[in-house]
Amino acid sequence: MYDAPSTTKEAVVTDVKIQANDVQVYYADNHAIKDVSVAIQDKTVTAFIGPSGCGKSTFLRCLNRMNDTIDICRVHGKIEIDGEDIYDKRVDPVQLRAKVGMVFQKPNPFPKSIYDNIAYGPRIHGMARNKAELDEIVERALRRGAIWDEVKDRLNAPGTGLSGGQQQRLCIARAVATEPEVLLMDEPCSALDPIATAQVEELIDELRQNYAVVIVTHSMQQAARVSQRTAFFHLGHLVEYDDTSKIFTNPEDSRTESYITGRIG
């Protein structure tokens, strides 16, 4: 019912980048993620779909331990990236997050200039030797975020003074500026017009050449367009996880089918 992913984007069998086993997440008493096991492949775009509130964001935030910042949130189970348990005591969440970048669902630019918003990551990771290099990184990131033209004249204006969609693209640009190996994107195009969406999708496709990308989206078309693998979440369960083409053409689970045909929400 949706365009099957074009052959060029066919899922290539690659290494497993992230392996999650029996993940459970609780917000206080609320059991938000129930027993989810999933293997996310490298150099692949994985889409998480599912009705609002089913736990997509929650699971995504487990993958770079962003849930650590929520007091009431407890995560059980095992998540490995490149074979290393990220919830291991010895793991440094900072290094983890440098490796696993994130675009949040609600755009959250820093109360700084647009330039500093982008330059922040590269600076802390020491990615630029000098101002010129940094300028270059910033420009490249903003271009990749499809926002360069709109902000190039006001790089010193505060990032908080941008429109909703501009903020969203700024946050995407901010995340790619640090060149993470895995990029988690929580509804990155929700506030974008079709053109901007297309540009971001192009970016995702480009990133896929080297990295693993996980994208949460409510747009079935988008999932079908950009992803090779799709995971369908429902009420905290991972209902089905398979090649995108398979999910959208021939889902195994009836719930998946109902969802993509628009019958359950």
């Binding site: 962003m66 997050r97 949040f104 993470p180």
Partner: protein, 490 residues
């Protein structure tokens, strides 16, 4: 009618107006609240406000004015002859008032009947003795004019009080009627009430201006007087502060510069202690500490702000000073002569100021939205990077406010300076030398023994004024800086 009762009656009228206006507007709207412009309670509040506020204002105005009017009326009754030549009309009036009070007490205790207390035929001796019996403190035998005036005084006050009650109640009733009649669904009750509240807010904000005005007025005349006696140029540019005792006359050096330097130097040392410690404490409390640690440590640190400064002064004098001497004194590095020094006072003052920086900053840092932190963590920033580069800039206005508060407190502190830094005014760069501050000298010149009309005493006012102007300048500068670097989240 006792004031308290009058007050209660006004409140009762207001409460009645509230209920009436509310029910009236509800019934007009046919119980459909949506048809009303505002919530029913606003109509009530409007009526209550209109009945209580003017009435109470009138009450206050009357209470302020009546004594003046009655005093004037009564005092014109006292013949000049009744005023002893070393006394004044005001003092006789004081006695009249006391006698009138005494009559009240005598009537209350039954020693006199009300009628007798009023009657012209009241015998002086009877009056005196019954007053004394009633426990009124009268020093000597009453005199005829005083007693007559006191009786008049009581009479006028009784009349005044009666008319006041009437007037206040009438005003309250008029206001109530007005408010109730206004109550119709289309009436913008909320706006009216909010205008009232806003007036209140403005009044509150204006108190700052009034206080400033008051300070300037209470300093300025004596300051001018000082400059009449002492050349301004020497005061502002003189390099030495050496007030002599006015008995010696005219030999004082009253240059403010050494004091300003001391103020500046000691405050800087204090802030160098308080700001890093306070800020780091705030950061630790709000970002790292567990809620339990925070719940205990923060209030404990706040106790530091509540220890009387004299304790800090003694602490500086008895503990910190000798300690520093041991390290920096002749036996140690040899920089320090005695325990009292800029360093001693600065360190101790810094300790006192820690909570000013820590507590307030902690609250502000805590108020920075979590999304800011998440954004930074998501980029792989460490917690300290996040704090330094995202959280602190976002919290900057509040933190600057806290630091300014601490700085202000440092400038205004006396006791620690007196005990910790010594009383010597000196222009020196060595922080291990004794110095003193403008504030300490304001206190000592103000509470000293010098002839109060002499420049040595009046200089306290000039010092206060100058300090006031200087800090004003600094604050304008700080405001400008904060405006320039403010970062607003969202």
């Amino acid at each position: 009618m006792p004031l308290f009762w009058l007050f209660l009656i006004v409140l009762a009228i207001a409460a009645g107006a509230y209920l009436l206006a509310r029910s009236r507007v509800l019934s007009m709207a046919g119980d459909d609240r949506r048809a009303l412009h505002s919530l029913p309670s606003y109509y009530g509040s409007n009526a209550a406000m209109k009945s209580a506020v003017p009435a109470l204002l009138l009450l206050v105005a009357w209470l302020l004015a009546q004594p003046f009017i009655v005093d004037n009326a009564v005092s014109s009754l006292i013949p000049d002859a009744a005023i002893a030549d070393n006394s004044s009309r005001a003092l006789v009036m004081a006695e009249v008032r006391r006698t009138a009070d005494g009559l009240d007490m005598a009537v209350a205790s039954g020693g006199l009947t009300e009628a007798l207390a009023r009657s012209e035929g009241l015998d002086l001796d009877v009056a005196t003795s019954s007053l004394q019996e009633a426990g009124a403190i009268v020093t000597s035998q009453l005199t005829e004019p005083v007693l007559a005036a006191a009786q008049q005084f009581r009479a006028l006050n009784t009349i005044g009080a009666r008319w006041m009650s009437v007037a206040v109640i009438i005003v309250a009733l008029i206001g109530a009627t007005w408010g109730i009649r206004e109550a119709s669904p289309a009436f913008r009750a909320r706006n009216t009430v909010e205008r009232g509240v806003r007036a209140l807010l403005i009044a509150a904000a204006s108190i700052a201006i009034l206080t400033t005005l008051g300070i300037v007025l209470s300093l300025v005349f004596n300051t001018i007087e000082f400059f009449r006696l002492y050349p301004a140029s020497e005061f502002f540019f003189g390099l030495s502060w050496a007030p002599s005792f006015s008995g010696r006359g005219g030999a004082s050096d009253l240059g403010i510069l050494p004091l300003l330097w001391g103020t500046f130097y000691i405050s800087i040392v204090a802030l160098l202690v308080a700001v890093p410690v306070g800020l780091f404490a705030a950061i630790y409390l709000s970002e790292y500490a567990s809620p339990k640690v925070r719940a205990i440590a923060k209030p404990l640190l706040e106790v530091l702000a509540g220890i009387p400064t004299i304790v800090y002064g003694l602490f500086a004098l008895l503990t910190v000073g000798p300690l520093l001497v041991r390290v920096f004194g002749d036996d140690g590095l040899g920089w320090m002569q005695a325990g009292t020094a800029v360093m001693t006072a600065g360190l101790v003052m810094g300790i006192m100021l820690i909570p000013f920086v820590s507590s307030l900053s902690d609250d502000i840092i805590n108020a920075v939205p979590q999304a800011m932190r998440d954004g930074s963590y998501g980029l792989g920033a460490t917690q300290s990077e996040t704090i330094r580069q995202v959280v602190l800039p976002a919290a900057l206005p509040g933190i600057v406010g806290a630091i300014l508060l601490a700085a202000s407190r440092a400038i205004g502190e006396t006791m620690i300076v007196v005990l910790g830094a010594g009383a010597a005014a000196r222009l020196s760069l060595n922080p291990f030398e004794a110095m003193t501050t403008v504030t300490a000298k304001i206190v000592s010149q103000l509470t000293g023994d010098a002839d109060f009309a002499s420049p040595e005493a009046l200089v306290a006012f000039a010092l206060g004024m100058t300090l006031f102007v200087i800090t004003l300048g600094l604050n304008i500068f700080a405001l400008y800086i904060v405006r320039k670097y403010r970062e607003q989240y969202e």
